[in-house]
């Protein structure tokens, strides 16, 4: 019996050690391969110029610009909405009320939905239904909103990243000590004043972490914007939310599958991948740092 336990324990430890090594190895391989493949192409000029020669040469500026716009518009939607939901859940809803439980269940479910489903939902709901309705009402049936654009792409992405925001903000709000709320209430502040002046300022780092994690997720996902806003190639930068946009992740996909000469664009693919990796990596690292500072504050 003893021996059996020892064997089981031993194999579990070996298995976990192996998987850690495996994961680390994969990360290292990805990094090394992309760095080697992309380092000669990556330059300031590459980052700031347009693609040329049917995207066989040139830079990736429109894709960077489009990705930035996407995450900005997405954050403008996801952060306030997520923060309000989190405030409602922690401050107003009773833990066991059916509405709080329903929201929590929905948030958990949302987090597990494959991202391509969000893309399809965005196509069906935002473009066909909302966009179609807007065209019908405001454009006299002319096609303007019932097609992929920055707004629909960003909103679809916002749905995908909403759970990240909600969970981070909720976690941060819970770290605001009860004593501080009581101090505020005892001074004759209303509940809303207390939330506005004590709870939200006290959870600002959580709201930031949530935003950064959402941005990092949004910057890396492609499936949600596939049908809802990303463009294969644009000669000009988007100037309105009703324009389509280019995107780093989608650009990699396009270069590696749609290009007439995939091998020739390989360095560009690697360099673009490297940019995307560094971007999400930096964002995640920042979020982790802010979060760990927050955790330390609790102790």
């Amino acid at each position: 019996m003893r021996l059996k336990n020892k064997l089981i324990g031993g194999s579990i430890i070996t298995a976990s050690a192996l998987s850690v090594v495996l994961i680390l190895a994969i990360i290292v391989i990805i990094l090394v391969v992309t760095i080697i493949g992309g380092k000669d192409t990556l330059s300031w000029k590459f980052l700031t110029s347009f693609p040329t020669d049917g995207m066989m040469k040139g830079g990736i500026f429109p894709a960077i610009y489009g990705t930035a716009l996407l995450v900005i518009v997405m954050s403008l939607a996801a952060v306030p909405f997520g923060a309000i939901t989190a405030i409602y859940l922690t401050e107003y809803a009773h833990e066991k009320s059916w509405i709080a439980q329903t929201i929590r269940f929905a948030v958990r479910t949302l987090a597990t939905v494959p991202s391509i489903i969000f893309g399809l939902f965005g196509l069906g709901f935002f473009i066909k239904y909302v966009g179609g309705g807007m065209d019908h009402l405001f454009m006299g049936g002319q096609l303007k909103w019932a097609q992929p654009n920055l707004l629909w792409g960003s909103l679809t992405m916002a749905l995908l990243t909403l759970p990240v925001v909600i969970v981070s903000v909720e976690e941060a709000i819970r770290t605001v000590p009860r004593e501080l709320r009581e101090a505020s209430l005892a001074l004759g502040a209303t509940k809303w004043q207390t939330i506005k002046k004590v709870v939200i300022p006290g959870s600002i780092s959580g709201i930031m972490t949530g935003t950064i994690l959402a941005v990092s997720r949004g910057a890396g996902e492609v499936a949600p914007i596939l049908f809802t806003g990303a463009a294969y190639y644009l000669a000009t930068l988007p100037t309105s939310v009703s324009d389509q946009f280019m995107n780093l992740g989608y650009h990699i996909y396009v270069l590696s599958t749609q290009s007439s000469n995939v091998d020739q664009t390989l360095p560009i693919q690697f360099a673009t991948t490297l940019v995307l990796l560094m971007l999400t990596f930096t964002l995640n690292l920042t979020a982790v740092l802010i979060r760990s500072r927050l955790r330390r504050r609790i102790k």
Partner: protein
Amino acid sequence: MKEVKIVTKDLTLHYGQKMALNSINIQIPEKEVTAFIGPSGCGKSTFLRSLNRMNDLIPSVHIKGEILIDGLNIYEKKIDVVNLRKKIGMVFQKSNPFAKSIFENIAYGPRINGINDKKKLTEIVETSLKNAAIWDEVKDRLPDSALGLSGGQQQRLCIARTLAVQPEIILMDEPASALDPISTGKIEELIFELKKNYTIVIVTHNMQQAARVSDHTAFFYLGELIEYGKTRKIFTSPDIKQTEEYITGRFG
């Protein structure tokens, strides 16, 4: 005896099924210091928190009976809790300054009352800090974070913050229990000053402190008010044996 400020009639409080206060009847005089003493868990904090309806925040609390302040039942439907709490300040056991500057901590209450005029705020901040006997220590560092103050200073800052709202009553729940003797002394002197203008109710575990600062003392035991009277009397010749045993340290 002076005017009566707070009266409770058969005040009974339950946390869920568990009774924490059993039919408390007490009359607390205006502009004097009333001390609540009694062993841990006897309901002192619970009683104090009923007086400014802080217990409203705990869903399981049920209250029966009446609490009259200036003759008005504070648990009546038409009472505005927010206004009630402006009238009844509270100082907590653990000092709890906001993560804001010293100035903004004091200005917090006036600001939520709609005072935003910088000159007016400066005035209120200065008077409140002076009245809380901490002005000299902080006057050169008002823009600094309040979290940088010592424990005793933080507690006096919290008192100043309460004064800034101009309450009539100040409830203090063991305000000096986490402080060193010198800071405690300062708080006690302060209480002595404050009672000229405020009705003060203080919970304390420190018998000497109760004897020093209070005019009246109430002894609680297992959710009941066992004895209540002039502090001198309670500490020299209490009527009830339990009170005497507690005060002389034989139990509790």
